[in-house]
Amino acid sequence: MKTLRPILALTLSIFLCATARAELKWEQTTLELHPAVGDKQAIGHFKYQNVGKTPIHFKSVKSSCGCTAAQSQKEQVPPGDKGEITATFNIGDRTGTQVKTVTVETDDAPQPVTLLTLKAVLPEMLTINPAFIFWKAGEETTPKIINVKAGKDFPAKGVKVVSSSPEFSTEVEPVKGGGEWKIKVQPKDTSHATSGTLTITPEVTSGQPRLFYANVSITGAPPAQPPPGAATTPAPSAKP
């Protein structure tokens, strides 16, 4: 046990030194944001204070992806000073929960790199499943179904659907219980490749209605047909 004591003391002293020298204190390194329906950005403020005795300089502030911009208010933080790193997340056409990180590098020796995490929980609006349906060229023109469900943050009374292409007809059918609809899509014919976009407009009681989209397509060329009058390969004779 006697020989163990110096090792334990050394471990403890290293730990205590590291703690004592930590100068930039963050209020939070993880933020969870809940932007409202229609918001274009989610902005997080990571607040800090220099609790040490020497100034701290920011070397770099980098966000993990192009959709998030991060900046610090100042390049140098004198002892005792407070400030914040602002992280702006552009929502764009994203859905679900988004986690983005900002890497802050300083000359604060004990902890030169801090990872800030911005979690944006985007409101659940309409779930469109699947968001794309297709028929292969020459396939039967059987209708296909797109299921639409209103999220808990988006009380829609109904949906209207408009096809960008006259090649596809649509029919909306509400599902019992409310908040869900089936869109029946049918192509006029599948002899040629074409595509279109279905614009889905939810009927909401207040505010500007937001538009949602599904895509439809007829892919590829139909199977080659022999030209009229051309010799055809005889079909194998059926066995008696």
Binding site: T11, N90, D93, T197, N215, T219
Partner: protein, 142 residues
């Protein structure tokens, strides 16, 4: 000898304590698995060997795509997903493999685009994320 072994075990146990504490504290925030499964990735050599039987999708922001991109790649990013998806689907065929890439600067963008193509659009294709992204492709081009 036994004493040294005991000390070593104790030190290892001590080293584990903060790690376990942090893992418990951050259990909802730390992903233990890579978001891309190995089967969902492809390296540059293999992707290039697919030639015209693959569609290349650029998941980077518009300005990066405009600056330079893999020849023939189609832009499809989440900033303008609703706008960019229809032109992508107009060129899409179910037989082709799809290679999605972003850059190390734009992190998981390719993973997210690949996920949405699989889960939302329900494309039946073999959809892969390019290992090393745009930078890896640039290296091979040189």
């Amino acid at each position: 000898m036994l004493s040294a072994l005991r000390q070593a075990t104790l030190l290892i146990a001590l080293a584990f304590l903060p790690a376990i504490g942090q893992a418990l504290y951050l259990r909802d925030q730390v992903s233990w698995d890579s978001r891309d499964r190995a089967s969902e990735k492809v390296d540059v050599d293999l992707a290039q060997s697919w030639g015209p039987s693959a569609m290349w999708v650029d998941a980077r922001p518009d300005n990066e795509f405009e600056s330079d991109h893999v020849p023939g790649a189609i832009p499809l990013n989440e900033d303008r997903w609703n706008e960019l998806l229809p032109p992508f689907l107009a060129q899409w065929t179910p037989e082709k493999k799809i290679v999605v890439y972003c850059s190390t600067q734009s992190c998981n963008l390719a993973t997210e685009v690949a996920r949405r193509l699989r889960e939302e659009a329900k494309l039946p294709n073999d959809i892969r994320v390019l290992e090393g992204g745009w930078e890896a492709w640039l290296k091979k081009r040189k």
